[in-house]
């Protein structure tokens, strides 16, 4: 494959507790996996220099040195190595640190032999997936279908590539329309599980009461309306990736269940008594500030740390330099082809405008604008006259205020005079929903309430209107 000495298939186990060494070794031997064991960091590093193991099982608490240092040394000499960190419960934060430093996966004691074997198999699969020689060149390249060469986005592509090889949970943040879902798909596609399913679930779009069964499934008859068994998203994603979009909309009760799922890799469908093992990689996303949600008590801190192993932040479009024009030129020609119109690019004036606009709806907003232009005009260049008037009236990005998804309608107090507070609330909510094409999560975000609050209100109104 290349000039360097090949890595060895012998697994290196560095664990200081002799009984655990024996137990892990027995599990590996039974699975026909060759293994060499060491009880200290010094012995482990010496054995590694000799063996060049592809896969290293590393205990975090060694008598002579911290696991993190040992791992850094291993990876510095052989970046291809997959390090699986083993840790006892209390050190989740440490494990998070290790994942960020390049660990492939971490296993929290106690884990059973099957979990151990799975971790090693995952690591080996990801190694097959990593042709070494192309790695360096790939690093400086764009990652389709993403468009854009800004340094901020190159760093994102790089992060996606490097995290894809591990099993680490990815936490994607970014404003609406910045490409969070695209990013989740890209991680899946670049990973060793790309042949497995990619299941996306929008936690904000599902009423609170139904979300648990959407995630974990249910058995027939477990609640009113459960007319047949339902496989949840977690089971559907077995062997692949589960993308939990708008994770901050999940209620606290379900957050607890999600945490248990992450700790045990087992699911218990609603109404079932027996848990079942599933093997999924979790990616989640939010356009809120997750730490703020933790501070406000709306998001479990332990779950946050469990999920927030590798954060990827998608910068807003206005912070990506000329990416906006690169995206626009590529998409406008593509869309024009679909519409049978002749567009070849943007006029210099439009390029200038695009670069200076705030783009509160980011790439999605740009796509909508372009679609509009291409449908209604013939080409060949996009000119300022073709742009929707409300786009041009948007504030330029020199103002530092947070951008609203759409320009909020000015309140007309006269219309509201004489109404009850409940009526006013309903008017405001309905107006907001209408402006967001009925999207509850988006309206909830603008009104700064949880999506479930809105669902409850909608539910109550529709019940009040249903004749007996």
């Amino acid at each position: 494959m290349n000039s360097q000495a090949p890595l060895s298939d012998t697994i290196l186990l560095i664990e200081d507790t002799p009984s655990l060494q024996m137990i892990y070794k027995a599990a590996l031997t039974r699975a026909n996996l060759p293994v060499e064991t060491c009880g200290t960091a010094a012995d482990g590093l010496a054995a590694f220099a000799r063996l060049k193991s592809r896969v290293v099982l590393l205990d975090l608490m060694l008598p002579d040195r911290a696991g993190l240092e040992v791992m850094k040394e291993l990876l510095a000499s052989e970046p291809q190595t997959c390090v699986i960190v083993i840790t006892a419960n209390g050190s989740i934060n440490k494990a998070v640190e290790m994942m960020r430093a390049g660990a492939h996966e971490f296993l929290v004691k106690p884990f059973d032999d099957q979990r151990l074997i799975n971790a090693i198999e995952n690591a080996r699969r990801s190694l097959h997936h990593r042709p070494r020689s192309t790695l360096a060149e790939a690093r400086i390249q764009v990652l389709p279908p993403f468009i854009g060469h800004s340094s901020a986005m190159l760093a994102v592509y790089d992060k996606i590539r490097s995290v894809a090889r591990s099993m680490a949970t990815v936490f994607i943040t970014g404003e609406s329309g910045t490409g969070k879902e695209l990013c989740a798909e890209a991680v899946h596609k670049a990973s060793a599980r790309s042949a497995g399913p990619f299941i996306a679930l929008n936690c904000g779009a599902i009423p609170v009461g139904l979300l648990e069964s959407e995630v974990f499934g249910h058995l027939r008859g477990s609640f009113t309306g459960a007319i047949s068994d339902k496989q949840g998203a977690a089971a559907a994603a077995d062997g692949g990736t589960l993308f939990l979009d708008e994770i901050c909309e999940m209620d606290l009760n379900l957050q607890t269940k999600l945490l248990r799922f992450l700790q045990t890799s087992t699911i218990t469908p609603v109404g079932a008594t027996k848990p079942r093992k599933v093997n999924v990689r979790i990616i989640c996303a939010t356009n809120r500030n997750p730490l703020e949600e933790v501070r406000q008590g709306r998001f479990r801190e332990d779950l946050y740390y469990r999920l927030h192993v590798v954060p990827i932040h998608l910068p807003p479009l206005r912070e990506r330099g000329d990416d906006v024009n690169e995206i626009a030129e590529t998409l406008v020609t593509q869309m024009a082809r679909e519409e049978g119109h002749e567009f070849s690019g943007l006029s210099p004036r439009v390029r200038e405008l695009f670069r200076n606009m705030a783009w509160p709806g980011n790439v999605r907003q740009l796509i909508n604008v372009l679609r509009n232009v291409v449908v209604l005009n013939a080409g060949p260049l996009v000119t300022p006259e073709m742009l929707p008037p409300d786009l041009l009236s948007q504030r330029p990005m020199t103002t530092r205020e947070p951008a609203a998804p759409t320009a909020p309608a000015r309140p007309v107090l006269g219309d509201l005079a004489g109404r009850t507070l409940a009526q006013i609330e309903r008017i405001v909510i309905e107006d907001t929903l209408a402006r967001h094409n009925g999207s509850v999560p988006k309206s909830a975000r603008e009104l700064d309430v949880s999506a479930s609050t809105l669902y409850r209100k909608l539910d109550a109104w529709s019940k009040a209107e249903t004749p007996e």
């Binding site: 002799p18 009984s19 024996m22 027995a26 031997t29 006892a88 209390g90 106690p110």
Partner: protein
């Protein structure tokens, strides 16, 4: 060591037999991973590790106490000794956060539980030599 906390010891100081100290399903699974030789070697090693750790949590150096408690927690949890794992975790946390005086109050009861775990392991070792 604090003698009042040794309430669970039998009259001769040996622990009462308490099979609940280790979940038999977990232990059986571990002990049946290899052959007979492996089974008795593993029993012996676990007994020796718990003896070592049981003594080490009584060290005057509190960082050593925390380290040993942490190691004990991982081993106990792995072999299905849930009660001991919980106690070791408390000891680890207390040693790190509250210091030596607070930790020493937990040492005695943790050591008693270690003794119960060792008793179950000794029974398992005898079973394997009898088989």
């Amino acid at each position: 060591m604090n003698d009042q906390t040794r309430s669970n010891s039998g009259p001769d100081g040996s622990p009462e037999s308490d099979p609940a100290a280790i979940d038999p399903a977990v232990l059986d699974r571990l002990l049946s991973m290899g052959d007979e030789a492996m089974r008795s070697a593993l029993c012996a090693q676990m007994i020796s590790d718990f003896q070592r750790l049981g003594a080490a949590i009584d060290d005057p150096d509190i960082t050593k106490v925390a380290h040993s408690a942490h190691e004990m927690k991982g081993l106990a949890a792995t072999i299905g000794a849930a009660r001991l794992a919980t106690m070791a975790r408390s000891l680890d946390t207390v040693a790190k956060s509250l210091g030596a005086a607070a930790a020493s109050a937990l040492v005695g009861s943790t050591q008693s539980e270690v003794a119960r775990v060792i008793a179950v392991l000794s029974d398992a070792a005898e079973d394997s030599s009898a088989a």
